[in-house]
């Protein structure tokens, strides 16, 4: 499948490149129309693109991009777009078909290209993955943005893609990307500092959706999840029992409910074990603009504060 996507994106990319000279005039309202598949990616594109681009996200805040059902409007948005940003690593399983059926000539950009993927198999401790590069295309964990270092790769990819699509804006994109990268560096340092203040043996968290592997590898908080990598797998009684046993055995202190998983199951586990239910954290989607995680940086900051509050108390 990935190879087909590569072929598609190559094809679409060359088409977009050949169409480039004319495309400058076709921009609506002087802005470059781009599409991002989900809210976090959309925020990164907005930060880099600034005033020059108009960003549309397909899966909005609080939506789950794993199991999204695209609408005809989405196909039209793809048609109108000059650049389409996808996460890649099979995060959006539905995007291949949507791109093919929409017949868009936009350049397809995989934002996660160039990061070191983590394998998606069940792995409770996740310290030494050996950084094996994904020969197995199926089992890669797509939630790469949970490591700020990866988000910086995203930003670089977005900057390059925008520059290719709109060479006139090169200076603006580079300046905005540089400014944003500096903020990401500060965020990265802030997270590491907060984690350092949590005693090492307390850094264990249960969360409902196994999306924090990259966070775990980068920052050293261990996450255990009652479900597999994808939210479309329903937890079995055995999974829930395993989690409860594990909480009891390892004296895990905190359970976190994400914005995309079943909170009732988490509450049941919490009542049965006496672990604390932490604040809602965000993994795959931002909250609405007025929520606690309206942008990528706010999301990461909110999550690490929530983790540290629950783990230190």
């Amino acid at each position: 499948m990935l190879t087909r996507r590569h072929a598609l994106s190559l094809l679409a990319g060359t088409l977009a490149l050949t169409a480039l000279p004319g495309s400058g005039q076709a921009q609506t309202g002087g802005k470059l129309d781009v599409v991002a598949t989900f809210s976090i990616l959309g925020d990164l594109v907005k930060e880099v693109g600034g005033e020059r681009v108009s960003v549309t996200t397909l899966v909005g805040p609080n939506g789950d991009a794993h199991v999204y059902a695209p609408s005809p409007t989405d196909a039209r948005r793809l048609m109108d777009a000059k650049v389409v940003f996808v996460n890649g690593l099979k995060f959006e399983g539905w995007i291949d078909r949507l791109i093919a059926s929409s017949g868009t000539k936009a350049a397809i950009v995989e934002a996660a290209r160039g990061i070191t993927p983590i394998k998606g198999e069940e792995d409770d401790h996740g310290h030494d993955h050996g950084h094996d590069h994904g020969h197995d295309h199926g089992g890669l964990d797509p939630h790469a943005w949970q490591n700020v270092a990866n988000a910086k790769v995203y930003v670089a990819n977005i900057r390059d893609a925008l520059t290719t699509a709109d060479p006139a804006g090169k200076g603006a994109y580079e300046a905005q990307a540089a400014a944003y990268l500096a903020r990401l560096d500060a965020l990265d340092a802030e997270i590491k500092e907060i984690v350092a203040r949590i005693p090492k043996e307390r850094r264990r968290i249960i969360t409902s959706h196994d999306a924090f592997r990259y966070f775990q590898e980068a920052y050293g908080i261990v996450f255990v999840a009652p479900q597999g990598v994808s939210t479309d797998a329903e937890a079995s009684a055995k999974d829930v029992a395993k989690i409860i046993r594990q909480i009891r055995r390892e004296k895990v202190k905190a359970i976190f409910v994400e914005n995309v998983s079943d909170p009732r199951l988490m509450e049941r586990i919490a009542q049965e074990t006496g672990a604390r239910i932490g604040e809602r954290v965000f993994s795959d989607a931002l909250s609405g603009p007025e929520g606690p995680a309206g942008t990528y940086i706010e999301m990461m900051r909110h999550n690490i504060r929530a983790f540290s509050t629950a783990l230190s108390s």
Binding site: V59, D64, E234, A235, K238, V240, R264, R268
Partner: protein
């Protein structure tokens, strides 16, 4: 062996709650299913299960994962579809099965549309497929209350209900209880579907009614025994499904329905009343 069967329930409160939930659902679902089957309304039950979907979805859109909102939404939608399908078939040229099919497809489409209106649809998917492992106190109380009401109401209306199954014309000639009985019965069906959907989801809730009922039909001709058998089959499926989910790592709701389906398959094969084996070798009847 006993350890395999007992320890999941002894060690984990969520398994105990799931057990209580499925037993309560089986207690009321079996008899209601038997009546549905005898009245040739099995597919009606299925159609009404789908009809609950848009109501529950609207309740969820308004109040989130709130038990009362989704219950009321489901009840209203179920009753509306039941009554509307009845009215259409009574007053127009369309037969009841055709009008039911129309309503069920409509509500399915409507439900899916309402689901997609809201950005966050995964919570709702959990609702639609149920979370038998996450039953809280209020949900358990609701399910048990529905079971109690259902069993009491069935006891009260037992005679007219049975009579309407066997000979509705006769019932109409001797009493005017026919229409109210029918309405009460439809109400009970909707009530049980709404109770069942909190545990098993709208799409599978009807399974705990129809599969035990259909399986029990292969074992007896006596309606009372049939109901007892359907309750027993329902409870066994519930326990078996939960254990299957626990030991084989299967999602709980589907595992319960699959267990019921397995019992149905066995009954179909071995059942004394019209099971396939008994039909193939009729001589065995004499031996038995």
């Amino acid at each position: 062996m006993a350890d395999l069967l007992l320890s999941p329930f002894a060690d984990f409160a969520f398994m105990q709650r799931a057990l209580v939930g499925v037993i309560a659902i089986a207690l009321a679902g079996g008899p209601v299913g038997v009546f549905l089957m005898l009245r040739r309304m099995s597919l009606t039950g299925d159609a009404m299960a789908h009809a609950i979907l848009p109501g529950a979805a609207i309740g969820y859109l308004i109040a989130g994962l709130s038990l009362p909102a989704m219950t009321i939404g489901g009840l209203v939608a179920g009753v509306v579809v039941a009554v509307a399908a009845g009215l259409v078939s009574r007053f127009t040229a369309l037969k009841e099965d055709a009008s039911l099919a129309a309503f069920y497809l409509l509500s399915l489409a409507l439900g899916v549309t309402i689901v997609s209106l809201r950005g966050s649809n995964v919570d709702l998917l959990h609702v639609l497929f149920g979370t038998v492992l996450a039953l809280d106190d209020s949900t358990l109380l609701l399910i048990s209350a529905i079971s109690t009401i259902t069993v009491l109401a069935l006891a009260l209306f037992y005679r007219p209900l049975v009579l309407e199954c066997v000979d509705p014309t006769f019932l109409r000639s001797v009493s005017r209880a026919g229409t109210p009985t029918h309405l009460v019965f439809l109400g009970l069906v909707v009530l049980n579907l709404v109770g069942g959907f909190h545990a098993l989801g709208t799409l599978l809730a009807v399974g705990m009614m129809m599969l035990p009922a259909a399986a029990s039909r292969f074992w007896t001709n006596d309606i009372t025994i049939m109901m007892v058998a359907s309750v027993a089959i329902g409870i066994v499926s519930g326990i078996g499904g939960l254990l299957l989910s626990f030991h084989a790592e299967l999602p709980a709701g589907p595992a319960i329905i699959l267990t019921a389906g397995g019992i149905y398959g066995l009954s179909l094969l071995l059942g004394r009343e019209g099971g396939l084996l008994w039909l193939a070798w009729p001589g065995r009847h004499l031996e038995a």
